[in-house]
Symmetry: C2
Subunit: 207 residues, 2 copies
């Protein structure tokens, strides 16, 4: 079954906003790329701002999924690899929501609180993963290094699309761009991993 028009509008507008910036993409351009009339687009979404709300909802569903990834000392390597891939893809696929906030409008206090909460939960999750790696003997790192490491990890993940755009003019996500981000992120702590753990990530963490 072909995807529904509504889903095609969402996917196409997301891609266009990510690649060209929210302000630069018109509803005429979106309709054209989807292959429908502007009237048909308006039937599904009254304004460009409605598309933002729909994208935010999808993003929050993804975030809830990856925040629910479990961890234990026994399963930490596979769960961390899964978490890491999901979060890189999530940030890349919804990059305009982070990047173009000034263009599509300042967020409500409720949304800001939610975003703030997501940052905190993500940081705590990363720290929990690292504690489990230490407990399982995969990682050798003192406790007071974990908080700055978690912040640095979030910075590399969160700003990877902006960094590639600004320094390398890369605007499309492909395997090479995603894997380079994962590589830069592992550079933050791989010298503290056992050879076995490093081998596991080399084999299983990349696209």
């Amino acid at each position: 079954m072909a995807p529904k028009t509504k889903d095609r509008i969402l996917a196409t507008s997301l891609r266009l906003f990510n690649e060209n910036g929210y302000d630069a993409v018109t509803t005429a351009k979106i309709s054209e790329e989807v292959g429908i009339s502007e009237g048909n687009l308006w039937y599904h979404f009254r304004t460009k701002r409605d598309l933002v709300s729909a994208h935010q909802l999808s993003l929050f569903v993804l975030i809830d999924k990856r925040l629910a990834i479990p961890s234990s000392p026994e399963t930490v390597l596979e769960n961390y690899a899964l978490f890491n891939r999901m979060v890189f893809e999530e940030v890349w696929n919804y990059q305009y929501l982070y990047r173009d906030q000034a263009e599509y409008g300042r967020a409500s206090p409720e949304l800001e609180d939610r975003v703030h909460q997501i940052y905190e939960m993500t940081t705590n999750m990363v720290i929990r993963f690292f504690r489990h790696m230490i407990e399982a003997g995969h990682l050798d790192l003192p406790e007071d290094e974990l908080a700055p490491l978690a912040d640095n990890i979030w910075m590399v993940i969160r700003y990877w699309p902006s960094f590639l755009r600004e320094t390398r003019r890369v605007v499309k996500l492909d395997k090479a761009a995603l894997n380079a981000g994962i590589r830069h992120h592992f550079a933050l702590f791989e010298t503290h991993l056992t050879r076995e753990a490093r081998g596991y990530f080399d084999k299983n963490a990349y696209a």
Copy 2:
């Protein structure tokens, strides 16, 4: 001698843009904070966009200064500490120029090329510093780790103000915010430094 009106306008508008965002700051607000009439402001700068150009010029002067910091294996620790402090302050003090580009207008191709060149020169400079640290025996790191490390360092420096704003709601630069950034940046490679080199940076790299 009191600072000239023009300089006061530049300093005040820079602070207001950084803290509140380019779009949110009116010329009325700038005049009020400087304590002059809007007519007097217009006499010096016809539009808000003219302030952007003036800030860009000052930023480029700073960048040229820190790109000219020399390095040799003998002087690498003091020169790296100096470079590092300068670049953190530069990125923080001109943060709106990076952050609000969509608000004040897309850059010209010439400016984009210049910015791109600055990124490249900065990365090369950081790699050169690390090579000198290795040569002088301060740092133990294989050659193929240098490029991702230099990228990660630039990411922490470049996005530190955005990161603090988004995750901690910090909008003003004070010693604590600056030093926390420097600390996060050292966390990227300090375990590869000799104890002596680490001790040098602990004593000399912070504000």
